[in-house]
């Protein structure tokens, strides 16, 4: 059973388009992180959100943590080919030190 479900699983868009990736759970988390992973490499942290309703921006990327701390979204504006990769959400429960990763969204941006 997957604790964090991401949607969509695959996304292929044209350069310049906007997109949103979702990370959903029925559990409540103390914090949530978003990572990007390229083939043959480990995931690289993009952002950490810790407060319900929090919004963080990183250039063309906007991250939001749900008010109830159960879900999150990643919005990319004017996608570029360099955004191509596997996007992963990861969450930490209030108890324990285990990070739970989502199922992943594979994004391809076509030039």
């Amino acid at each position: 059973t997957q604790l964090l479900e991401q949607s969509p699983q695959f996304l292929s868009i044209q350069e310049g388009e906007n997109l949103t990736v979702y990370c959903n759970s029925s559990s409540v988390f103390s914090s949530l992180q978003w990572y990007r992973q390229e083939p043959g490499e480990g995931p690289v942290l993009l952002v950490t959100v810790v407060t319900g309703g929090e919004v963080k921006k990183l250039k063309r990327l906007t991250f939001q943590f749900g008010d109830a701390r159960k879900d999150s979204s990643l919005h990319i504006t004017a996608a570029q080919p360099g955004d191509t990769g596997l996007y992963l959400c990861a969450a930490l429960r209030y108890t324990g030190n285990q990070f739970y990763f989502g199922t992943g969204t594979s994004l391809t941006v076509i030039p």
């Binding site: 964090l4 103390s30 914090s31 480990g42 942290l45 030190n97 285990q98 199922t103």
Partner: protein
């Protein structure tokens, strides 16, 4: 070192054999994590070390899997009697060990294990 390193990068073995996977974390990082990632999936937690001790090993799938970190730096993941289902990329990550969700995990490139 500059980042987390893992050796070997690729390991091909036969069913039933024993394998060891090594992780060199970032110097000074007290926390170390092992994950397993299957193709097209997110990493699956295996075990977490704080210093030399395994603080949480609840993700190890069975007693064929074991990990050590004797001096609080390098860690070795050991898999006995490998099975074809063990084939995956094994990722190691380290962090400074700060409490709570501000922990940034720095991942290594992974070891791709193939069990024939």
């Amino acid at each position: 070192g500059a980042g987390v390193s893992q050796t070997p990068s690729n390991k091909v073995t036969e069913k039933g054999k024993y394998v060891e996977l090594r992780c060199d974390p970032i110097s000074g990082h007290t926390a170390l994590y092992w994950y397993r990632q299957s193709l097209g999936q997110g990493p699956e937690f295996l075990i977490y070390f704080q210093g030399t001790g395994a603080a949480d090993d609840s993700g190890l799938p069975n007693d064929r899997f074991f990990a050590v970190r004797p001096e609080g730096s390098v860690s070795t993941l050991k898999i006995q009697r490998t099975e074809r289902g063990d084939s995956a990329v094994y990722l190691c990550a380290s962090s400074s060990g700060l409490a709570g969700g501000q922990n940034e995990q720095f991942f290594g490139p992974g070891t791709r294990l193939t069990v024939l």
